[in-house]
């Protein structure tokens, strides 16, 4: 028997460590990196929640969250670099 809830608590602990850097980061890029890391951990936590509750629909939500996280990081960095997103 594999205990999936143990892995959920470990991943939540690591996300809580990364949350410190997202709140108190010295520069803007520290905050962007920390939000990216928390998003990656959230994808894995969503897949594990789908196993704990035995509902396979959570995998679609995890895939969608991965795409949203990637688009958010690209949009923020492009805005900082060029001053606007669409040109």
């Amino acid at each position: 028997m594999v205990f999936f809830e143990v892995f959920i608590w470990i991943l939540l602990f690591t996300a809580f460590i990364a949350l410190y850097r997202a709140v108190f980061g010295p520069t803007t890029f520290d905050k962007i990196v920390a939000v990216n890391v928390i998003g990656t951990k959230t994808v894995v936590v969503l897949v594990l929640i789908g196993y704990v509750y035995s509902r396979p629909y959570f995998f679609d939500i995890a895939l969608l969250y991965a795409i949203l996280n990637f688009i958010a990081v690209i949009a923020i960095t492009k805005y900082i670099e060029r001053g606007r997103i669409c040109e």
Binding site: F59, A66, I74, T77
Partner: protein, 120 residues
């Protein structure tokens, strides 16, 4: 405990340790670039290992339905492939912008303040 369960638990435990290492590196390193050095590799590989363990579990322990044996591991494989492409691209974008904006860089001799000539 069948050998399949032991293999799944071992793979997921290695992935969880890698993610914990990446988070501690994000907390402890002094600089943006070194923090991205810590998290960029550990997060991608840890996520891939955890989802790979879940694929092994699902293939051996799923129900006899087509949905459980085929479609759910395919979805998790899609997540692994997408994050293997998307995570390095996002890291490269953040690193490029941090170099263009001239964020102070930590070296062994002290903090590197960018001069006018030294660009990109």
């Amino acid at each position: 405990m069948t050998p399949i369960d032991i293999a799944v638990t071992l793979t997921m435990a290695i992935g969880a340790v890698l993610m914990l290492t990446g988070s501690i590196g994000l907390l402890r390193f002094p600089d943006v670039f070194t923090r991205m050095h810590a998290t960029g590799k550990c997060d991608t590989l840890g996520e891939a290992l955890i989802l790979f363990g879940l694929i092994i579990f699902q293939v051996y322990h799923g129900h006899e339905l087509l949905l459980d044996r085929i479609i759910v591991p395919t979805k998790m494989l899609f997540i692994i492939i997408f994050l293997f492409i998307a995570n390095p691209v996002a890291g490269h974008a953040i690193m490029k912008v941090a170099l263009v904006v001239r964020t102070p860089m930590w070296t062994k001799k002290g903090w590197n303040i960018w001069s006018k000539e030294e660009h990109k």
